[in-house]
């Protein structure tokens, strides 16, 4: 199974392998800078299974773990 963004720990980075989201979310992620081949970092994890703070390029984004699971990543950097 390919690891996904929701499996990373706080502070860890990895490179995006693919984005397996429906069309709408795919476009949104793309507009926020999520693209195959780009490195992403999990900056912070919300308590009580709260959302993740993800850094991509110059942008910080918050997303739920269920959405992060749709972003497949390579090995940890």
């Amino acid at each position: 199974m390919t690891p996904d963004l929701s499996l990373l720990h706080e502070g860890e980075s990895a490179v995006i392998q693919s984005i397996e989201a429906d069309e709408a979310l795919h476009h949104r992620l793309q507009a926020l800078g999520f693209q195959t081949g780009k490195p992403v970092q999990v900056v912070r994890m919300g308590r009580f299974s709260g959302p993740l703070q993800i850094r991509i390029g110059m942008t910080d984004v918050i997303m739920r773990r269920s959405d992060a699971a749709k972003i497949k990543v390579g090995p940890r950097l």
Partner: protein, 595 residues
């Protein structure tokens, strides 16, 4: 007249740029093909007047949100002479595709790179000449917030407007099948014109977030801030409010009363006891309301609200909502109407409807006026802040309870993905503009609803003329008589029930109508209320005011945004039922306990 459309992603400072460009003489206009109102303003560019339209912030033309549809429809149905694309310079790496999409559409455009100050601080270098060359559009760097580079940008826009452009009809269906083309273009242009720092320098945002998003301290800090802001508003606002009230009483006693002494009693009564007392009592709350909105502006523009969404999402998810829903509840503290419109960022209809169902429970500034008045009249200075705080708490609780009860009906799978902007300090100019906007908003409501409502209340309590005013034989007394069986069990008497009826129109009328009913204002009115009511009745009245439907504007907005009469009616009905049940439980329990 030429027409300019402002386009950009959320958080790019588009509205700040709009205000600078037009001097904030904006009005709201209707446009063919779209259902929402857009801000427009006229401005002199070079020798010609141009009309500037502020389009909603969008991430891309592909999007499925309401706002993205609005922008697409606008560009399809309305010819524009120039599109000004505002990009956040610090995020040019991912915002450039929006400019390229505009280029694909073949629209004439000028690119404005905003937040030049921040990008420089970050160590970014952007070569605007190269960017202009590779984009084929003029490019200007500005800081809309501080006005840097603004005159040059204005000239660039004016110049581009002079050039003859074929304003072709935009056919958006044919748009953007070639995404990869935009991707490779973005990479090529960035490579040529932009120097990105390899690592983001540690900024104050990172340091602040370490505390404000702290796993355990984040939420307590949020509540502490709310409490401190609240304290700040009332500590500063109370003397201002007393000052306005004093001036109004002086004007009445020394100016108006002697002057109207010989007028027919019905006329002078209507003018003085009705309109002047009613509108005056409401007006004395305006300083607090302005302070309130100034503080809201600070919080809104600072970027902290996205952090609140992060902190609250875990709880909200369990209620079928998300972090943005909570932010809308906070925005609703100002006014429910913009908070309801703010739900447009949600794409899933069930999530939007559920959020719209809870927003009206948010304790808006108009309801705050009623509570300030009642707590000042009925509670000691020590107890008043606690009473107010309990009402804010109940406002959240009723919203959360409503979500919990209805979440089964509105199941959403909407992703929760939002941007976390860096912290920003708003400028005095932005804050002052907002304050002025609120004063104008109040004056408009005063001229529309409040005066009319106050007059109606006064007439109902004074007609017919052959019975004593405020007695059971007046029209008002008869209406109150019909409502008595429903309202007596919750401790609300005849005069208060009339105020509640008019509260349907706007909550500002509640206090105004009490002034009109009793023909008193300020301290005298408060004194009378304290004689007539005990604290249990007063709290029950406030509870009802908090929960039952906020005002006509909110109902109209619910109807417009949900596009469902059934949903709107259900929301109204639910709030009435919940209000009555809560008051019944409170009132009967308090009485049973011997209070």
């Amino acid at each position: 007249m030429k027409r300019i459309a402002l386009l950009g992603m959320p958080n790019t400072g588009k509205s700040t740029f709009f205000n600078r460009l037009t001097g904030a003489r904006a009005r709201v206009g209707n446009w063919p093909g779209i259902t929402v109102d857009l801000m427009t303003a006229k401005t002199l560019l070079g020798a010609d007047w141009a009309q500037v339209v502020d389009l909603p912030g969008i991430y891309s033309f592909h999007g499925f949100s309401e706002d993205e549809k609005v922008v697409r429809d606008f560009l399809e149905k309305n010819a524009v002479d120039l599109v000004v694309v505002i990009l956040n310079a610090t995020q040019i790496d991912r915002q450039l595709p929006l400019a390229l999409q505009i280029r694909k559409l073949g629209l004439p455009a000028v690119i404005v790179l905003n937040m030049a100050d921040e990008s420089r601080q970050l160590g970014m270098r952007i070569d605007t000449a190269k960017l202009t060359e590779s984009l084929g559009y003029p490019v200007a760097m500005v800081s809309a917030k501080y006005g840097m580079g603004f005159n040059e940008a204005r000239q660039t826009i004016g110049f581009a407007l002079q050039a003859p452009h074929p304003t072709a009809e935009v056919g958006l269906e044919r748009v953007f099948s070639e995404d990869h083309e935009i991707e490779s273009d973005t990479a090529r242009i960035l490579d040529a014109a932009v120097d990105l720092p390899r690592q983001m320098p540690k900024r104050h945002t990172v340091r602040l977030d370490r505390w404000l998003l702290h796993p355990w301290l984040g939420l307590p800090l949020f509540f502490l801030f709310m409490f401190l802001l609240f304290q700040f508003i009332f500590t500063l606002g109370k003397p201002l409010q007393d000052g306005v009230a004093w001036v109004l009483t002086e004007v009445r006693d020394r100016g108006l009363e002697p002057w109207m002494a010989d007028w027919p009693p019905l006329l002078s009564g209507l003018l003085l006891d009705g309109i002047y007392n009613g509108v005056g009592t409401v007006a004395s709350f305006v300083p607090i309301i302005i302070l309130f909105f100034l503080v809201m502006t600070l919080v809104e523009d600072s970027g902290y609200l996205s952090r609140v969404a992060f902190l609250m999402d875990a709880l909200m998810a369990r209620l079928g909502l998300d972090g943005r829903s909570f932010v809308m509840l906070l925005m609703g503290f100002g006014c429910n109407v913009p908070a309801l419109m703010g739900t447009r960022v949600m794409r899933s209809r069930p999530l939007r409807l559920l959020t719209m169902l809870v927003v009206p429970f948010s304790l808006c500034s108009a309801r705050l006026q009623v509570f300030l008045f009642m707590t000042a009249a009925l509670f000691s200075a020590q107890a008043a802040p606690v009473v107010l705080f309990s009402l804010y708490l109940l406002s959240f609780l009723t919203a959360l309870l409503t979500a919990l009860l209805f979440k089964g009906r509105y199941v959403s799978t909407e992703p929760f993905v939002i941007e976390l902007p860096p912290y920003r300090l708003p400028t005095w100019r932005q804050v002052a503009l907002r304050g002025w906007h609120e004063v104008r908003h109040f004056l408009r409501r005063a001229s529309k609803f409040i005066t009319a409502g106050v007059v109606a209340v006064w007439l109902l309590t004074h007609l017919p003329t052959d019975v004593p005013p405020n007695s059971a034989e007046t029209l008002a007394g008869q209406i109150a008589g019909w409502l008595e069986p429903v309202l007596t069990p919750i401790g609300i008497d005849a005069q208060l029930s009339l105020a509640l009826i008019f509260g349907f129109v706007a909550k500002e009328i509640v206090v105004g109508s009490l002034a009109a009913i009793y023909g008193l204002e300020g301290d005298a009115l408060m004194g009378l209320m304290a004689q007539k009511l005990d604290w249990v009745q007063a709290y029950s009245f406030m509870l009802f005011t908090l929960i039952y439907i906020p005002c006509l504007s909110t109902i109209a907005t619910l109807r417009q945004e949900s596009r469902s009469l059934g949903f709107t009616l259900m929301s109204v009905l639910w709030s009435l039922i919940l209000a009555w049940l809560s008051c019944f439980a409170f009132y009967q329990a308090a009485r049973a306990l011997g209070y």
